[in-house]
């Protein structure tokens, strides 16, 4: 058993090491309008690459710019400096190559579970029969059979997030961006959802960028954990979790990673 590998990352690019990066973030900063410019600097000179089919977590305290960074990859927020590229093409806005899951499931309350999943397919003009079939597949993938025609408010928090994941997967994006998707769930549901997310990730190979403030969640899920620090938001360290899955949450190795990351955060 080797000890966790820690790489110091300062100005250098946090590199995935794979031949062709899926996501390239190059010296990106985001300045929000604020009275004190230092406080408005959400992300400062961040560079990071994410490899094809890699599962990367952005971990840090609130205010470390992890959500802003994710929103910039999504194309929902434009960087004030630097560049973000996907498959070598610069990001200019949201695109069908990226799907997103939000902390507050952000389901359309006026649509049933299956209609929520079909939302993007309708936009794309997919015929109804095909749409239904595709959505049904996703319903079974996220284990919600029998709940197709429930409205979001009739579903528990965990179920809502399953619908949100299925909705993001419906357009078959290559990249899945997840903003603390399980942050509002109770401990037990959360562990179940993590298991299921990994199962889905292994079934439908995706590149995943996962924002979280839970150390154990990041260790359990990720190939690589990017530790960020606040004021201004910067990458502090990256930790490669080179442990085969399924991982044991209570193992000694897990505890070692936990300690390493905790030290990195402080």
């Amino acid at each position: 058993m080797q000890s966790p590998r820690v790489e110091r990352v300062t100005e250098a690019v946090a590199n995935a090491g794979s031949a062709r990066p899926k996501i390239e973030i190059l010296q990106v900063s985001k300045q929000f309008p604020a009275e004190d410019p230092a406080r408005g600097l959400a992300v400062s000179n961040v560079s990071l690459t994410v490899g094809q089919n890699e599962f990367v977590s952005l971990l840090g305290r609130s205010g470390c710019g992890k959500t802003t960074l994710l929103n910039m990859i999504a194309g929902l927020v434009a960087p004030t400096q630097g560049q973000i590229a996907i498959d070598g093409k610069p990001v200019r806005g949201p695109g069908p190559d990226r799907g997103m899951v939000f902390q507050s499931s952000a389901l359309f309350p006026w649509l049933t579970a299956i209609d929520n999943i079909e939302f993007g397919l309708v936009n794309r003009g997919v015929p109804k029969v095909e749409r239904r079939r595709h959505a049904q597949d996703l319903i079974s993938l996220v284990q919600l059979s029998g709940f197709e025609s429930k409205y979001p408010r009739e579903l528990s928090g965990g179920m809502q997030q399953r619908v949100a994941i299925a909705r993001a997967l419906a357009l078959d994006p290559e990249i899945l961006l997840m903003d603390e998707p399980f942050g509002a769930l109770d401990e037990l549901t959360r562990a179940e959802m993590q298991d299921e997310l990994l199962a889905i990730w292994q079934k439908r190979t995706k590149t995943v960028v996962f924002v979280t403030h839970s150390i154990s969640e990041a260790i359990f899920l990720s190939d690589r954990v990017i530790v960020m620090s606040p004021h201004p938001g910067r990458i502090r360290e990256q930790i490669v979790i080179d442990v085969p899955r399924p991982r044991q949450r209570a193992s000694v190795q897990f505890a070692q990673f936990y300690e390493t990351i905790q030290r990195a955060i402080e």
Partner: protein
């Protein structure tokens, strides 16, 4: 790991464990519908209790009038109002104008003004609400126009549109329009930004964003605007019908007063109240039908 669905982590499972029978009484839970005993008493509480209070008031009123506690010509008892309603429907007041004629005429005016207000107010409100600049520009105008008591415009309306139907419809439209507009603007403004972001990540065109996200999200506000506006319409109509017509519930009431026929005044009032009740019921039925997702959890 697939157990989440079965472990009862949903709201139902929790309700079962925490709602004690005593609590259920003042705060009907989902559970109440499941147990037959609760269902019956709940049904009784919902429809029986309101009916009971009405019956008690009517009984006291009737009894007091029979005992001569107050003057039947100023406060006619319910039995008298009922026979007047019948007289009004068969003989008419003025002779030949039955209760249904009055009601039909009033309903027609409200419907015309209300429909016009909806046709103008809903699209306009949606447009204004989605533009920060427009809503800033419009806010003082809306606040001012809303504060003007509609009936105070009666002389102006008569001057502009004459004493005919146009001035009446104009005033109804005016009253309904501002209330509706305010609500629609609120609805268009208060779209959850998370929903917009979610839609942006799902290949949503600007057009689809309006019709598939903003409009449905504003619908509950639009409905509450429609409900408020309708109530206002029926309030305004009575005043509007005071002049320039002998047909309509407002006209009926004002003429009955000049003849000191308080029984007729009461009959007219009951008819207006009936309208209000039926339309409120109809709207809430329509709302449940069209917005099943927005239903209050009972």
């Amino acid at each position: 790991m697939s157990d989440t669905l079965g472990t009862g982590s949903g709201p139902d499972g929790k309700a079962k464990a925490t709602v004690a029978p005593g609590q259920g009484e003042c705060r009907p839970s989902i559970e109440a519908e499941r147990q037959p005993g609760w269902a019956v008493s709940r049904h009784l509480r919902q429809t029986g209790l309101p009916l009971l209070s009405v019956a008690v008031i009517l009984a006291f009123w009737e009894g007091a009038a029979q005992l001569g506690l107050f003057d039947a010509s100023t406060i006619p008892p319910p039995s008298r109002v009922l026979s007047t309603v019948w007289e009004l429907q068969t003989l008419g007041f003025p002779r030949g104008s039955s209760l249904l004629t009055h009601m039909g005429s009033t309903l027609g005016r409200v419907a015309a003004g209300y429909a016009l207000a909806a046709v103008l107010g809903i699209p306009l409100g949606m447009l204004i609400g989605r533009s920060l600049r427009a809503s800033r520009m419009v806010l003082p105008i809306v606040t001012f126009a809303r504060s003007v008591a509609t009936l105070s415009l009666l002389p102006l309306a008569v001057l502009w549109f004459g004493v005919g139907e146009e001035s009446k419809v104009f005033l109804i439209t005016y009253g309904c329009f501002w209330v509706l507009l305010t609500n629609v603007i609120d609805g268009a403004k208060n779209v959850d930004p998370a929903l917009i972001r979610a839609a942006l990540m799902l290949d949503t065109s600007p057009r689809a964003m309006f019709y598939r996200v903003i409009l449905p999200s504003a619908l509950p506000y639009i409905f509450s605007g429609l409900r408020l506006a309708l109530g206002l319409g029926f309030m305004v109509i009575v005043g509007v019908e005071l002049i320039g017509t002998s047909i309509g519930l407002g006209a009926l009431i004002s003429q009955a007063r000049t003849f000191y026929r308080m029984d007729l005044v009461f009959a007219g009032m009951v008819a207006i109240a009936l309208f209000g009740l039926l339309i409120a019921l109809g709207l809430s039925w329509l709302e449940r039908l069209l917005l099943p997702w927005a239903r209050e959890s009972k």
